[in-house]
């Protein structure tokens, strides 16, 4: 599906498409870019985009943004995602960056924004704790003021790619007496500080994406506090808003759908009754993706006219993740018996993997994508948001 583009926007699309085709690194074309790349490999594309000046389309131009229109930004997202490129690290560029340029002071902007743009600093997100998942406001990690420092003690968990991280942005409790949201602050912590320990959590797909991060007597300079003490919840909510709208991932779903069709054609005989069942299931999910894409285009058209979708954007997180989960489920079923095999991690050339190579990642994607409806505010939380903020219930 295409936006009806003006001449300038069509030219822009062609430019973007050509740039991706010519510059996306071959080393990054691996079976599963999210789990198979080293830190250096996964930064290759980031660095190319930085050099081109295209690393942060969301940011205002003065901080290193591109100055693109909403339509152009959408075109960029669409092209990058259709081409199957690994997006730049969201925790850095989409999440903490905007918090720093919106709520940080001048010193913080100068110090942190360049490293985010260049990729020299890798950020991870210290939100979840063993006792606070969807109920984020219940964080217990404590930061106690001690002269020019905070002393931080606590335990963050499900921290994505903390094993690569140089910095972590944390929600910490600075006022234990205040109620839930009121006593929380937003703190930036150098991962090299003594007292910070990272321990891998292996997920059901066998990969190492997430971690426990233990914070024991970690001394953090007061200068690393974003905005005001005890106002962290405001900044956290702002960040989550940015996260939600970028979760429809239609481009990725479209690519996986295309592959699913090829697999079904190759694996299921067309006189097998299951073939018709696959046809119907695929058609349904294809229509779901089409409807969500049409909704996304409608939102882009609205935004170009200055209408903010507001909390209704939660529907993109809900439907986008449901659609992708469904596709990985169908793909896993389509490869039949080889769905028993699970690729080992870390991936290596000399580990035996049976079956046709289009099936190698079917099991792990099916397993791994269960996370989508849980993270970033579970889909149930997103439904609560719409119920309250859109429907007024």
């Amino acid at each position: 599906m295409e936006l009806s583009l003006s001449k300038e926007d069509a030219a822009f699309r062609d430019e973007v498409r050509a740039f991706i085709a010519e510059n996306y690194p071959r080393e990054m074309r691996v079976p599963n870019a999210e789990t198979d790349l080293t830190k250096d490999q996964s930064l290759l594309w980031h660095r190319i985009l930085h050099k081109k000046g295209w690393i942060a389309p969301l940011w205002p131009k003065q901080y290193g943004g591109t100055g693109w229109s909403i339509t152009q930004r959408f075109i960029w997202e669409q092209e990058a995602s259709r081409a199957g490129t690994l997006p730049p690290l969201a925790f850095s560029v989409t999440m903490v960056g905007p918090v720093i340029y919106t709520y940080g002071n001048e010193v913080q902007k100068k110090r942190f924004l360049p490293g985010i743009l260049s990729g020299d600093d890798w950020w991870c997100q210290g939100y979840s704790e063993p006792g606070s998942g969807s109920d984020l406001a219940s964080v217990r990690t404590k930061a106690v003021r001690d002269g020019d420092n905070y002393i931080v003690n606590g335990h963050k968990t499900w921290t994505t790619l903390a094993q690569h991280a140089d910095w972590i942005f944390c929600l910490v409790r600075t006022d234990p007496a205040a109620k839930a949201q009121a006593g929380i602050s937003f703190l930036l912590i150098d991962m090299k500080t003594p007292g910070v320990t990272v321990r891998p959590i292996i997920t059901i797909d066998g990969s190492h994406e997430v971690n426990d991060v233990f914070l024991e007597e970690v001394r953090v300079p007061v200068g690393n506090l974003i905005g005001e003490e005890n106002k962290g919840w405001t900044y956290a909510k702002f960040l989550l808003g940015n996260e939600r709208t970028s979760m429809a991932s239609i481009g990725r779903s479209t690519r996986y759908l295309h592959r699913l069709k090829e697999i079904v054609k190759a694996e299921v005989a067309d006189d097998d009754p299951a073939f018709v069942e696959f046809l119907k299931d695929i058609a349904r999910v294809e229509l779901d993706a089409l409807a969500l894409e049409a909704t996304e285009l409608r939102m882009v058209a609205q935004m170009s006219r200055g209408i903010d979708p507001g909390p209704a954007a939660s529907l993109f997180k809900i439907r986008g993740t449901e659609i992708f989960q469904r596709i990985t489920d169908l793909t896993h079923r389509a490869i039949g018996n080889y769905g028993l095999a699970l690729r080992e991690h870390p991936a290596g050339a000399n580990i035996f993997m049976p079956g046709p190579d289009y099936g190698y990642t079917a099991s792990e994607n099916y397993l791994n994508s269960r996370k989508l409806s849980i993270y970033g505010g579970s889909n149930e939380i997103q439904r609560n948001i719409i119920a309250k903020a859109v429907l007024g219930l």
Binding site: L279, K280, A283, R284, T295, R298, L315, R383, L391, L393
Partner: protein, 376 residues
């Protein structure tokens, strides 16, 4: 509405909304539906007077052009008010076919008659065994001098008891499921040897079983090229789906807002129903279903207006997805209204029944899902 409407389109929407607000409230509709005829000539005249019956026609016939968009604007509002008068059959189906396939003379004669509200039309393509297959035609048309002689029967033809004229598909060549060999004829409803038995439909309208026992039709009353009827009907179906999807969106809009309003005020166990999370999440799913249906309907009608490639596949996809979504919304609206949802007095059940009818007209969601899956 999120696509940029032109000034004329915006005007059309506003005037339809105003007209329906002024004279098409649910109680007035109920009275009209309960009459012997089941529709209102006065409403029809009002539609004609404001130019509504010409809206999708080309400018030379008093319309706005861009038929799919004009149809969408009108049908969405008609869906919200459950309008029973045969705009869909007369203007969208017959008017669309005449405009697309008619000769210059036919267009100049027939389109103004429709625009002025003088002639009601119905499209007779379904047969007892055809289900949703446009090619499956056993009614035959045999050439005899300057005439064709029609023999056979058509089934469940909506608006036929009200119609002055019919467009009838009949076979002039080929086997009974061949795509080629179907032709379209303009037939006077009062023709000799045409037997019509009317019946009431679930959505408060009228339809008929029609028998053709050697009905003689002048050869000049053929519409479009001989043998090409199935292809014409296919294009007609795409447009029809664009209109029916918009009507479904209108009905879903009203169902969602009625359900939301009801659950906010209705108390059980001392609290409003809307405070229960299980109901909140269901209404969120109804909200999302509507948003997606709106998007898909706009996308389909824009594609049809631009005569985009794949528009027929897209039409089937939209019919299937929106049909399922509307049924879901309708069922949940009744469920969340509890016992009241079952009552004939409340409008909720009537929206639900219109949706059930939409899901049959021109093919159900299952039929169109397979058509979408097979077309590439």
């Amino acid at each position: 509405m999120d696509i940029q409407l032109t000034e004329e389109q915006e005007l059309l929407r506003n005037s339809v909304q105003r007209l329906l607000r002024d004279r098409y409230d649910f109680e007035s509709r109920r009275k009209v539906v309960a009459t012997e005829d089941g529709w209102s000539r006065k409403h029809w005249d009002a539609f004609a007077e404001m130019g509504l019956l010409a809206a999708p026609f080309p400018e030379e016939f008093g319309g706005l052009g861009d038929a799919p968009l004009a149809n969408m604007i009108v049908m969405l509002e008609f869906g919200r008010s459950l309008v029973v008068e045969p705009f869909f059959e007369t203007v969208v189906l017959a008017g669309g076919l005449i405009n697309e396939a008619g000769s210059r003379a036919q267009r100049e004669e027939l389109l103004p008659e429709i625009a002025e509200g003088k002639v009601i039309w119905a499209l007779a393509w379904t047969e007892q065994k055809s289900r949703y297959d446009l090619n499956n035609v056993t009614t035959s048309a045999r050439r005899s001098g300057d005439e064709y002689v029609l023999k056979g029967a058509k089934s469940a033809v909506t608006a036929a008891p009200w119609a002055d004229k019919l467009i009838v598909s009949a076979r002039t060549a080929g086997g009974h499921r061949d795509r080629d060999g179907v032709s379209l004829f303009i037939v006077d409803r009062k023709s000799a040897n045409l037997n019509l038995r009317g019946f009431k439909t679930i959505d408060g309208r009228r339809a008929a079983e029609i028998g053709f026992d050697d009905v003689r039709v002048p050869a000049s009353q053929m519409l479009g090229d001989e043998g090409n009827g199935a292809a014409m009907l296919e294009t007609c179906r795409d447009r029809a789906i664009g209109a029916l999807c918009a009507e479904a969106v209108g009905a879903m809009t009203e169902l969602n807002s009625a359900t939301l309003g009801y659950t906010k005020t209705r108390k059980q166990f001392g609290v409003a129903l809307g405070t229960f999370q299980v109901l909140q999440h269901r209404m969120v799913d109804m909200f999302i279903a509507l948003e997606e249906a709106v998007s898909l309907t706009q996308h389909l009608n824009l594609t049809l207006a631009a005569k985009g490639a794949n528009s027929s596949k897209l039409a089937s996809g939209a019919k299937s997805k929106i049909g399922d979504a509307a049924r879901c919304v309708g069922e949940q609206a009744i469920q969340l209204h509890g016992g009241m949802g079952m009552s004939d007095e409340l409008n909720v059940g009537h929206y639900f029944k219109r949706i059930a009818a939409i899901n049959i007209q021109f093919g159900d969601p299952a039929f169109h899902l397979m058509r979408f899956a097979r077309l590439n």
